[in-house]
């Protein structure tokens, strides 16, 4: 094995082009487990910790550019307002020690259906900035996950950052597991209201070969909210609409039975999480609307 230590982003790209089989290591919280247990013996291990820009983020007018190696603990502390769904998801990852090292780039690199960042990224909407010496590609998050632990990166590409829309409305993340800390999701659900476009987006984790959106459920809810004038009148979502949304989310999943749970439990839990998180986000949206309405006229 060779240990590559690029000091800059350009050096990292050059090294990856020269050795496409090189395995990047950022927080190491996936890679080192595989090496410790002899599941992986890469020819080249490429440390990304020296590349400072991967640890940085930038908050722009409408978007956040989140460096691939920004650890979860930073996301929780510093990006709660801009990326509430991802910050909530980050807080559910493992333990403080793991959150201090692991980040979204590694979660995307591994592309496990159980990765907690994925439902939040799918619901929030974003793009993965994949870079090689050949140039930069912006991969829409919807096109990034190809199969169980397979993603859309080419062998010579590295993730520089994820570009995410700044939240324009409430977002939630919910995860089922046996305890609060250190738990792989039995299943997980992310939801984001986008009042600017009057749409709702979702993300499902651990309930299909890849993280997925529940698009039929999104379309149903978006149409129901529009028809009822709910974005403007700020009324509560009727229980029948919430129920149908929850059923459609459960229907979108394609779960399996495994040691963590059965397929039917996963479907049931997804429906419950979908209904609850819709309730929480919509109440938050209504509350904000009402506050705005109660503002005295200037």
């Amino acid at each position: 094995m060779d240990f590559l230590r690029p000091a800059t982003w350009q050096e990292a790209l050059a090294a990856k082009a020269e050795h496409p089989s090189a395995v990047p290591i950022a927080g190491g919280t996936d890679v080192m487990v595989e090496i410790n247990f002899d599941h992986r013996r890469p020819e080249y291990l490429m440390d990304l910790n020296r590349v400072a820009e991967l640890q940085e983020w930038e908050v722009g007018e409408d978007t956040v550019t989140l460096g691939a190696s920004v650890p979860y603990s930073r996301i929780m502390e510093s990006l709660r307002a801009e990326l509430p769904g991802l910050a909530l998801a980050a807080h559910t990852v493992a333990s403080p020690q793991i959150r201090n090292r692991g980040g979204v780039g590694g979660n995307l690199g591994t592309a496990s259906p159980a990765g907690d960042a994925h439902p939040a990224l799918l619901a929030g909407g974003g793009e993965v900035e994949a870079v090689s010496v050949r140039g930069t590609r912006m991969i829409p998050i919807d096109d990034f996950y190809l199969g169980v632990k397979r993603n859309a990166l080419a062998p010579d590409e590295l993730i520089r950052a994820v570009r995410l829309k700044k939240a324009t409305g409430p977002q939630q993340f919910s995860k089922v597991g046996t305890r609060n800390a250190m738990v792989i999701a039995v299943c997980a659900f992310g939801i984001a209201l986008h009042p600017d476009t009057r749409t709702v987006r979702t993300g499902i984790g651990s309930a299909a070969p890849t993280p997925i959106r529940a698009t039929t459920a999104e379309e149903f809810l978006t149409a129901a909210l529009e028809e009822g004038g709910f974005w403007d009148n700020g009324k509560a979502v009727p229980p029948a609409v919430a129920r149908q949304f929850a059923d459609l989310v459960a229907g979108a999943a394609n779960p399996i039975d495994d040691v963590r749970g059965t397929a039917s439990y996963r479907r049931h839990a997804l429906a419950v999480m979908a209904r609850r998180t819709l309730g929480w986000t919509w109440e938050q949206y209504r509350g904000k609307q009402q506050d705005e309405r109660n503002q005295p006229c200037a």
Binding site: M1, D2, F3, R5, I25, G27, G28, T29, V31, M32, V33, I35, N36, F37, R41, P42, L45, D47, N49, A94, S95, P96, Q97, I98, N100, R101, N180, A181, M182
Partner: protein, 158 residues
């Protein structure tokens, strides 16, 4: 490969390090610092917790080469030069928070960092900060007592 970094304030070097080796292995097997424990090698138990540039991490999941040039603090670095136990260490002894002791080094490093960052932690803060450290003996209550005791003593000392 050769790896050089600072451990508990001293520059240390290790030769013939295998490229896939963990920081934990280098500390224990090459630098004679067996305080950090190896229990799971997969980030689950926290008994290998050290600080890397001040931040608590599982040393079993840091590649040794990633520590090059950086600052590591292990449990061996908590006591004073004269061997006097630190506040957190003394509190663990006094509260009876140590049984077999295997989890203790990781918990000490995590608790020490918590109190440095947050000298008056709530019970919720303590539970969260120690949520990555497993103990199979104590049932955790005495560990929580110890951290509360250390916090109270730190407060008095100020």
């Amino acid at each position: 490969m050769r790896v050089t970094f600072t451990v508990n304030g001293r520059r240390q070097e290790a030769d013939d390090v295998w490229e896939g080796e963990s920081l934990l292995y280098v500390l224990r097997e090459r630098m004679g610092l067996p305080g950090s424990k190896n229990a799971c090698e997969q980030g689950e138990c926290g008994s290998c917790t050290v600080r890397l540039d001040g931040v608590p991490v599982c040393s079993c999941l840091v590649a040794a080469g990633q520590a090059e040039g950086r600052e590591v603090v292990t449990v061996e670095g908590l006591a004073g030069e004269d061997g006097r136990l630190s506040t957190v260490q003394q509190a663990f002894v006094d509260a009876g928070a140590v049984q077999c002791g295997f989890c203790t080094p990781g918990l000490l490093v995590a608790a020490d960092e918590l109190l440095e960052r947050n000298p008056e932690p709530t019970d919720g803060d303590i539970r969260e900060a120690l949520s990555g450290n497993l103990c199979r003996c104590t049932g955790y209550e005495k560990i929580l007592d110890a951290v509360r005791l250390a916090a109270a003593r730190t407060g008095e000392a100020v």
